[in-house]
Amino acid sequence: MLSFTLRRLVQSAATLLVMSLLVFAGVYAIGNPVDILINPEADQAEIARATAQLGLDLPLWRQYLVFLQGALGGDLGNSFVAGVPAITLILERLPATLELALLAMLIAIGLGVPLGLVAGLKPESWIGRTIMAGSILGFSLPTFWVGLMLILVFSVQLGWLPTTGRGPTIDLFGIPVSFLSWEGLRHLILPATNLALFKLALLVRLVRSGTREAMLQDYVRYARAKGLAGREVLRVHVLPNILIPVITVAGLEFGSLIAFAVVTETVFAWPGMGKLLIDSIGLLDRPVIVAYLLVTVCLFIFINLVVDLLYAALDPRVRPEGAR
């Protein structure tokens, strides 16, 4: 387990190095952020002064060295636009994104597992078919388009839910969250549903096929032949078997949820890190882009670790020593 984790860490560090190099070279090629940021009255001298202030007058490799030097000391640099450490900006936005992604995952699991079970137990019934049709639909709808339609229907036409934004937050252990107040929850429903939809469809399919396979297994047939009630069979034999892949996929997909939050946050003007990334790309705010990458990579490592631990706890056959 330890060596496995260690390898992951090294791998992620390599990823980060490659990505940061890419970002540096790419942003350098696009242009000078000062051109976008500076006010119209600025003259050539002022543009040059501001460029030097941000250290952007150095050759690219020097800029990268300066960054590496800082990064090794834990300093990713200040945001060009906000003048505060880029990592602070990202961490400020992290709770909003995590809250959104967690709720979306809860929705996906909470609905996906039972629906998948039903569809798996009764694949030929109308309800099973309807669920599967729904999951294909959920699979096919692009996230941003669903978001637009949700706003159009529930906010504009029906007026039930707020259109965008995060609403008021309440501090929970010093972290601002919105699910603790009615207003906050109302703001959370549409974006979380939007984000959940794709994963929901995925889980329905996964659980359905898992259930169908489990029902065909000898031990389940035997248990049923033995006269065990359907519910008991489900609880004792089927559920544990589908739980492992569900947890694995849920864990792995959580990373992609955070990535896809970029889209949902843009549609719903949700003040999370994804929206910050899009804004920062638009303004060529390089330190923030790099900080975003760092934080997401760390998140992924953490999630993978949790999944591995859960996996080991749930399945006695997986021994921690047996690093894959």
Partner: protein, 295 residues
């Protein structure tokens, strides 16, 4: 192995298996129709939406059924530049399908080659390639594509490149896994004994057995690629506005949705949904037919 046989010798049986599901059959019909429409777009549309000289700003945002100054009818309405939505959707479909297909084929090709080489070479080559693959797969595709496009700029070539970059590793890993299994089979030993060359064994013997499941994956992947392109275009990072794909048309119409000009966004949305859904249904059925355990 079942897959290999089905694809090679038992095409008819396979087709019959596929056709047993009417929904899938209908989806295949829709997909064929969409492809045909996309291919024949220039002959089915009254306007070339890319030729700015054919557009008339005075015809902008006309509702469905309105008659243009030039005489033809905007059956699905017109957009903010006076672009005929029907023409724009068919041409957009062409771009969306083209981008999806081309990027998938390229990624599949690269993935196949890399995967086979990795499996056959083994040793440090294999280890190195697999580390690169891991690195690639440790990041969600949308994030990688998004950053690549932000850095390289807009354009059909750029978006195809970005989609290839985010897809190839997936195929490479799948192919390597399957190839490793195949390489241990007797027929490979037999071929080696018969004195066949490396390339011949890999491409004539191993490849055909690896392909079928891969094609199923690729089918669904085309749908993913189309959706991803649409999403990136929506975020303003994909295609230029003068060559609108379906995703870009939707994004473009978003601004007019609240003002009641629903057709600019809704019709391309329906076309996109139909396309992706048809591909998914066909891909699903393909997999079911090729995976007899679930029959």
């Amino acid at each position: 192995m079942n897959a290999g046989i089905a694809a090679r010798g038992h095409a008819r049986e396979f087709a019959a298996g596929f056709a047993r599901d009417h929904v899938a059959l209908a989806a295949l019909a829709v997909l064929t129709l969409l492809f045909a429409a996309a291919l024949a777009a220039p002959w089915l549309t009254p306007q070339d939406p890319y030729d700015l000289a054919q557009l008339d700003i005075l015809d902008a945002k006309l509702p469905p059924g309105a008659v243009a100054a030039a005489g033809h009818t905007y059956w699905l309405g017109s957009d903010d530049q006076g672009r005929d939505m029907w023409s724009a959707i068919l041409h957009g479909l062409r771009i969306s399908l083209g981008v999806g297909l081309l990027s998938t084929i390229l990624a599949l090709g690269i993935g196949l080659a890399v995967g086979l080489i990795s499996a056959r070479a083994g040793g440090w080559v294999d280890a190195l390639i697999m580390r690169v693959v891991d690195l690639q797969l440790s990041f969600p595709s949308i994030l990688v594509a998004l950053i690549l496009l932000a850095l390289t700029g807009q354009g059909v070539d750029r978006i195809i490149a970005a989609l290839v970059v985010v897809q190839w590793a997936y195929y490479a890993r799948t192919v390597r896994g399957a190839a490793l299994v195949e390489l241990r089979r007797e027929y490979v030993d037999a071929a080696i004994c018969a004195g066949y060359g490396e390339a011949r064994i890999l491409f004539r013997h191993v490849l055909p057995n690896v392909m079928p499941p891969l094609i199923v994956v690729a089918t669904v992947q085309v749908a993913h690629a189309i959706a991803l392109e649409a999403t990136l275009s929506f975020l303003g990072l994909g295609l230029p506005i003068t060559e609108p794909s379906l995703g870009l048309l939707i994004a473009n119409g978003y601004a007019y949705l609240l003002a009641g000009h629903y057709w600019i966004s809704v019709f391309p949305g329906i076309a996109l949904l139909l396309t992706i859904m048809a591909i998914n249904l066909v891909g699903d059925r393909l997999r079911d037919v090729l995976n007899p355990r679930l029959q």
